[in-house]
């Protein structure tokens, strides 16, 4: 008996073992040699069969012409800049040419310090860095006789222009969104927070892809421990390529087995900046416009930046609506099933008769009906994503209604069911962040099963189970459902309700920020105290 169990266990074990990723780096660092030919040969060998590498071998004119070579990847550099500022400044410099003292040994320094008219210039001593820099879009200059290389920053990449973010449109608010280039993204953040306290540390993650990842935080506001934790978790990642921030998200999460996202993502720079100002840490990843923000609490997924730009009463109203619709999206189909199957006494008598009449002739029990319609709706939604944008959204909702109507006429479902499904769909669209809505949409189905088994009791059990699970979650140490629990009155001002700006004097307390005060206290505006001043000096002095 035990041997059988062990055999089964071993079967599982084998399929789970993953071979370690082959390291791309060689064990030791290869240094640049003073011999130019050797260097060039090596580089050509490394970039063998890469047709976009440009090798420009030339001689720097001097008393004795010095051999030099310039490497760059075609398409990643600004060719005009390269030609004008590197090649030209080296090849067309009268003083250099006529100076007697310049020879192979001191050419390097003179070139670097006096001749190159490039804004950003660094040096490197080993081949790997050189190769990496070439691949990053820099131009590398090797001079015969020196064992160092000059790396000039002449990068120019094709990138999408800054445009309205497609996943988070707003009515009121800025309309720029992140793009794929990390430099542009960082700039978008920097423009909004013009403080030297905004730090951005650059990492490279992905052994083959060497993707640039930037960690942003505001020194003095963000908790140091948090920042260090983020950097450490990112540093632990060993994967061959990072193509999107979503990869990183799953690596740095506290609890990977849950439906609930513990890292919030956004396409908007203003959202990122607001979070940074609250003491959170942002992560930008090259080649994707979606940034990550940690730590994340669940109420955040129901918030939209627009809440802060609109006035307080309206913002509170919309937030409360969203809170309610979240519950509708999660519970409405289950409540429908539960009430119709177990708790018919809850319906008013006329409604009961009406629904019973509609359901005459429908062959399926309420549970199957609900599951079928919900699934059809999910199919439609998924299909709608692939359709061209103008049609996609309309197809989702209208399609559901039309199909629903057809199903009713065919006698497959009852009309009340179509109403329920449409309401649920509309409710789930109101959740501003996509990752939040996924959790709710998926949880709908187990709730339906529970409702079909035990009615309202089952729904309640499901909700308690979700609650207990959510209470165990932490995102980088912050309890996931702050500020509901642990309850913090000052944080609640910015949760379901949105109190006016002049009341929100503190930053969220659950992040352990170092400097909690956000604004001057007792800041409420009012009419000027001395009205007489306004009226033109009737104060009778």
């Amino acid at each position: 008996m035990r041997s059988i169990i062990n055999k089964i266990k071993n079967m599982f074990k084998k399929s789970l073992v993953v071979e370690d990723i082959k390291q791309e780096k060689p064990a030791e660092k290869l240094l640049i040699s003073p011999n130019l030919d050797k260097n060039v040969k090596y580089i050509k060998a490394v970039f063998d069969r890469c047709s976009d590498l440009v090798v420009r071998e030339f001689k720097i004119p001097a008393r004795e012409p010095i051999d030099a070579a310039l490497f760059y990847i075609d398409g990643m550099v600004d060719k005009n800049l390269t030609a004008a500022n590197i090649l030209r400044s080296l090849q067309f410099n009268p003083s250099f040419i006529n100076d007697k003292n310049i020879n192979k040994s001191n050419a390097f320094n003179i070139v670097k310090d006096q001749l190159l008219s490039i804004g950003e210039v660094t040096t490197a001593g080993d081949m790997d860095t050189l190769v990496q820099k070439v691949l990053s879009g820099q131009a590398v200059l090797l001079i015969d006789g020196t064992d160092k290389a000059i790396i000039s920053s002449v990068r120019q990449l094709e990138s999408r222009s800054v445009d309205e973010p497609q996943t988070e449109p707003l009515v009121r608010g800025p309309r720029d969104g992140f793009v794929e280039s990390i430099r542009t993204n960082i700039t978008l953040v920097r423009r909004r927070i013009k403080s030297p306290r905004l730090k951005m540390e650059l990492l490279k993650i992905g052994t083959i892809s060497q993707t640039d990842v930037a960690v942003l935080y505001i020194d003095g506001i963000a908790n140091d421990k948090l920042v260090n934790e983020v950097k450490e978790r990112l540093g632990r990642i060993e994967i061959d390529g990072v193509l999107e921030s979503g990869y990183l998200e799953e690596f740095i999460e506290d609890c990977p087995y849950t439906i609930f996202p513990q890292v919030s993502s956004s396409e908007r720079p203003d959202r990122m900046c607001a979070c940074l100002l609250e003491g959170r840490v942002g992560i930008l990843v090259d080649n994707t416009p979606i940034c990550l923000i940690v730590p994340a609490t669940f109420p955040q997924f129901l918030q939209s930046p627009e809440d802060y730009y609109n006035r307080s009463p309206y913002a509170t109203f919309t937030r409360t609506i969203r809170f309610i619709t979240m519950h509708i999206a999660l519970l409405l189909p289950s409540a429908y099933i539960a009430v119709l199957t177990f708790h018919q006494e809850m319906l008013p008598t006329p409604l009961l008769i009406s629904i019973a009449g509609q359901r005459e002739g429908v062959p399926f029990p309420a549970f199957l009906e609900a599951v079928m319609m919900e699934l059809v709706f999910e199919f439609l939604r998924e299909a709608g994503v692939r359709l061209p944008r103008p049609i996609g959204q309309a197809v989702s909702i209208v399609g559901a209604l039309v199909i629903g109507q057809a199903a009713v006429s065919a006698g497959l479902v009852s009309s009340a069911m179509v109403m329920v499904v449409s309401l649920t769909a509309i409710a789930s669209f109101t959740i501003p962040t996509i990752s939040g809505s996924y959790a709710i949409r998926i949880l709908r189905f187990p709730m339906m099963v529970l409702a079909a088994s035990f009615g309202l009791f089952g729904i309640m059990v499901g909700l308690m189970a979700i609650l207990i699970h959510v209470c165990t979650l932490r995102s980088f140490g912050v309890p996931y459902i702050s500020p509901f629990a642990p309850f913090s009155f000052s944080d609640f001002k910015d949760n379901i309700i949105r109190m006016p700006w002049w009341t929100m004097t503190k930053r969220p307390s659950f992040m352990g920020v170092e400097d909690a005060k956000r604004q001057k206290l007792h800041h409420k505006q009012g009419p000027p105290e001395d009205k007489a001043e306004l009226e033109g000096g009737e104060s009778g002095a």
Binding site: K9, F12, K13, L340, T341, F342, Q344, E345, T349, L352, I353, S354, I355, A356, G357, Q358, R359, E360, G361, V362, P365, A366, V449, L450, A452, S453, F454, G455, G458
Partner: protein, 408 residues
């Protein structure tokens, strides 16, 4: 790994459990919803048996009629009448269920009708059954029918689609005329078990409409027999748990005045000493207090009634827009109220010996020690208790007219 396996196994087990279970599931279209329950006692082969009857809704017919109704698909009755007989109430109920192709569901029964014979015999057993059942709500209306309850259930509703809606409407609408007493199970049973209080119930009776009343019936529903309809008027008076008699409409009005439940209604009176009643006083608010008085002669009660209302009809040619006339009308109205109340009191005390007004209970609340002494003999003392009625009426408004226009 092992732990995870166990966790997954538990979840799978639970899912199986959940999906195969659902013992209490009942699809809505498999339910036979009853809306009116009727209880009777009948004699069969010399033995008394319970007869339980119910009207069951046919949702299909109701739904196809649409929200407006009236364009019926062939005029089929939207309800089905079933009944069952048994030695106990539950057995009768189960026999009733044998007539139904769907599962019986009484949670939406808002009306319980007790037949006259059963009521006269005693309702104690019925109360036990009604309370124990989880489906009967405490705010179900209780009515006693004159005659068997089964006959009431056979009547077709006139305005509403369902008999239950018709009866509920009648019950809830009575406050406009204050001629019928309404009560729900909770208060009914409460009054049954309160010492010093006898209970009363609404009274529902069948009457035949005269030919001229037929009116514009819907196509296809004409019958050979004269139309029968129900109305809710009057009060069924119980002594302990047995029905002893009925109060008619004016006596009921008096009864409602005493208990402060006469919300609106009309007092017709005549200002002058001729029999024609041509002034109508429409009450909008009434309140009453029962004050027990203890003195050397024993216990007596004062019933203090205040009524407020508007003047709604005045046929007399005398101008009415003067405070003196108003005062006179008020006094007449108070006298009228007093007369009604005394009529009701006499009937209940002398003819029935039932303390439906709750004099005993009031005494209990105010003077518990004295009540203790009188409690056992209350039924004997009660018919001779002296009750003084004080009534006061106030006219607040006179409708849209200040004075009756003179006709030349």
């Amino acid at each position: 790994m092992g732990r995870r396996l166990i966790g997954i196994l538990i979840i799978l087990l639970f899912l199986l459990f959940a999906l195969s279970g659902c013992w209490s599931r009942s699809e809505i279209e498999r339910l036979a919803m009853t809306t009116v329950l009727g209880h009777d006692k009948v004699t069969i082969d010399g033995q008394k048996k319970w007869l339980v009857s119910a009207t069951v809704i046919k949702p299909r017919d109701l739904a196809s009629q649409g929200p407006l109704g009236g364009n019926g698909s062939g005029g089929d009755k939207p309800t089905m009448l079933v009944s069952g007989i048994g030695a106990t109430v539950w057995e009768a109920g189960r026999n009733l269920a044998t007539r139904l192709p769907r599962r019986e569901y009484i949670a939406h029964s808002n009306i319980v009708i007790i037949g006259e014979d059963l009521a006269r015999e005693g309702v104690d057993q019925l109360i036990d059954v009604l309370l124990r059942s989880k489906d009967i709500r405490l705010n179900t209306w209780v009515l006693v029918s004159k005659g068997p309850a089964l006959d009431v259930l056979k009547i077709e509703p006139e305005l509403e689609e369902l008999l239950s809606q018709e009866i509920i409407g009648l019950v809830q609408n009575q406050h406009g005329s204050s001629k019928a007493f309404t009560i729900d199970i909770k208060r009914f049973i409460n009054q049954l078990i309160t010492p010093g209080q006898d209970t009363a119930a609404s009274c529902i009776e069948i009457f035949e409409r005269k030919e001229g009343d037929r009116g514009q019936g819907e196509g296809g529903s004409s019958k050979e027999n004269p139309q029968k309809a129900v109305r809710v008027v009057g009060t069924a008076v119980f002594r302990k748990d047995k029905l002893v008699g009925f109060l008619d409409d004016s006596e009921t009005k008096g009864f409602l005045y005493v208990t402060g439940r006469a919300k609106q209604g009309i007092i017709s009176l005549s200002l002058h000493e001729h029999a024609k009643k041509d002034v109508a006083f429409a009450m909008t608010r009434t309140s009453s207090r029962i004050i027990p008085k203890i003195d050397d002669d024993g216990v007596s009660f004062i019933v203090d009634i205040h009524a407020e209302g508007d003047l709604q009809q005045h046929e007399d040619t005398e101008p009415v827009a003067s405070p003196e006339i108003i005062k006179a009308i008020e006094e007449k109205a108070a006298q009228e109220i007093k007369a009604l109340v005394e009529k009701a009191l006499n009937k209940a005390k002398k003819d029935f010996g039932a303390d439906i007004f709750g004099f005993g209970r009031t005494l209990h609340k105010r003077y518990p020690q004295i009540w203790k002494g009188l409690e056992d003999d209350w039924r004997e003392i009660y018919p001779d208790i002296e009750v003084t009625v004080k009534a006061e009426a106030k006219i607040r408004r006179t409708g849209m007219l200040t004075d009756t226009p003179k006709i030349h």
